[in-house]
Amino acid sequence: MSTVTVKPTVNNRIQRKRTASEWVLDIIKVLFLTLVTIVTIYPFWNIFIVSINDAQDAVKGGLYFWPRIFSLYSYQEILGRPTFQDSIIITVSRTLIGAPLAVFCTAMCAYSLSRKEMVGHKFWNLLFVFTMYFGGGQVPYYMVLKGLGLLDNFLVFIFPLIMSVYNMILIKSYINSMPESLFEAVKIDGGNDLVIFFKFVIPLSKPILMTVALFAAINQWNSWFDAYLYTSSQKLKPMQSILVEILNQYQTGSTTSQQMSNAKAGMTVTADSIRMAATMVATIPIIMVYPFIQKYFVKGIMLGAVKG
């Protein structure tokens, strides 16, 4: 959306000769944008090629642009591990259950809070908005989760995330922009608030709901800290947690290229190759849904920016 308006001036500009300062500008511009593009894309590419290179060969280093000896054995190895398979199931299910539920609860709350005739309208809004700026802190929060019996329970990935006040405000301002006469018309025809919400508000606010759903899904997919703090059993660890474990081993330096199995050539894995492959397994789904995400993502930020 931000790209549309640029063209006309650009066409006018080409006809003139560049001045010295414009040359400088263009050089800085090209350098800066190239740098940004390389710095954001290249790391993913590098990890990708190392992950599909033969592990033992990769130890020699010098892999920058292209794999030397192609091998998918690291993927075979990591995907074959039962702990990793369990973690994929946890991550996928928390994303598929958590995100839709979050959108649903957030939207319901947003609709209620958007109705200015609601008794205590101001109070309810303040009740939610206040929590954006003040919280109890980690320790009491942990104790409360413990009291609720959510520790070491799959629901700890779902319940704390069924709402997001920020997303609620996004949806609320979207609903507020709908014509009031629509709601009045439904009421005259005898429809109650449930009818308005399910039959009109949900279908009409699909763009913002999609944005919020994507944010919620990405958030679920990327979460690990809740699992780290609030769960202890291996069965409940999401994929990102397994990655953290692998990363911690790497950090302590205990695993510099220790070989794990070597039957034939191309059938070796190293700690590094496993780390790269696991990283890619967690990243590739994000990159695959990226085209869909970014369409809604830009819209969502614009809506958020309108608020400010």
Binding site: C105, G136, V139
Partner: protein
């Protein structure tokens, strides 16, 4: 009010008795129930635990609230303990990290937006923009993984610096405390540049094209157009975001510190959030951890509220 009378069924709320109104709005309350349960249990119940900061809390089998009410009251003892001991170091780390982050991550998206606006080819523009916010979508686990791999002793960055002859000994980035703040600042910038640029880009796309055309006629070159049209047009946005960023100075980020930091450089990587977490949950000093957390919450709250007041003064309307 008379104007409203044209639309027949407008109910004047104050004339209907409260009971009747509540009954009419029963479905609105019904829809709010999940959110209400959530906000009470997840947001407000933990706030009760702030009292922990003024007591000597010890968990027992009797449950959280029982322990809380029966914990001996110690006043501001934990705060004093914090101020007398690690306060200086933790605040130094927190402020250095967030100020360095601000130094990089604040101007970078402005530059990106302004330069993207100067790109003639729409496809190139889209491509660069799309690439720039890819890091925003990946987790800090993967981002940390990338930084630690690239900055490793045998990593790409060292290879590059060696190859260019800029260094003759490989740098151990994560063994050097002073470098950690820079690494975090650069990582934060890398992750947020594209995301933050979107707001500026949308502001820029709202600038009247006639302004540029008029400037063109008057003989202003593109550099002059940037300094006299584009930048002044986004200045209000820049101000608001800068004030908000200052309001969030104590929020250094948590995951990145925890993931990239290590024990060798703890004196540099420990910020308010990680410190409160380490003492509160890992070392079992619940009350102390809570006191540090409360200190941070209160200062942050004051900073954000002042930031909001200032933006309200500048813009004529508050942000929230």
């Amino acid at each position: 009010m008379t104007a409203l009378n044209h639309k027949a069924p407008v109910i004047k709320p104050h004339k209907v008795p409260l009971k009747r109104r509540l009954w009419d709005q029963r479905y609105l309350f019904l829809l709010m129930i999940p959110a209400l349960v959530w906000v009470i249990l997840i947001c407000y119940a933990p706030m009760s635990g702030l009292y922990m900061a003024f007591t000597n809390y010890r968990p027992s089998r009797n449950g959280y609230f029982f322990d809380l009410l029966n914990a001996p009251f110690v006043g501001f003892q934990w705060f004093e303990y914090f101020f007398q001991n690690d306060f200086k170091m933790i605040m130094r780390n927190t402020m250095f990290t967030s100020l360095l982050t601000l130094l990089f991550s604040f101007p970078a998206p402005i530059m990106l937006a302004v330069f993207l606006n100067e790109v003639k080819n729409i496809k190139v523009k889209k491509f660069v923009q799309t690439a720039s916010y890819l890091p925003y979508f990946i987790s800090w686990v993967i981002a940390s993984n990338i930084f630690m791999t690239f900055l490793a002793g045998n990593g790409v960055i060292n290879d590059l610096l060696m190859g260019l002859g800029l260094i003759d000994q490989r740098i151990l980035f994560f063994q050097n405390g002073n470098m950690f703040w820079w690494i975090i600042a650069i990582a934060n910038t890398w992750k947020g540049i594209g995301y933050n640029a979107i707001i500026y880009l949308s502001t820029i796309s709202g600038i009247e094209q006639q302004l540029y055309e008029a400037a063109e006629v008057d003989g202003a070159n593109r550099v002059q157009q940037i300094f006299h049209i584009t930048l002044p047009s986004i200045l209000p946005t820049i101000c608001v975001l800068l004030i908000l960023a200052i309001g969030g100075l104590l929020n250094t980020g948590f995951e990145q510190h925890l993931l990239m930091g290590n024990n060798a450089i703890l004196n540099y990587s420990d910020v308010l959030d990680t410190y409160s977490y380490r003492y509160g949950l890992q070392k079992g000093m619940y009350s102390y951890g809570t006191a540090v957390g409360l200190f941070k919450s209160v200062v942050s709250f004051i900073l954000v509220m002042s930031a909001n007041k200032i933006t309200a003064k500048l813009n004529g309307s508050a942000l929230f």
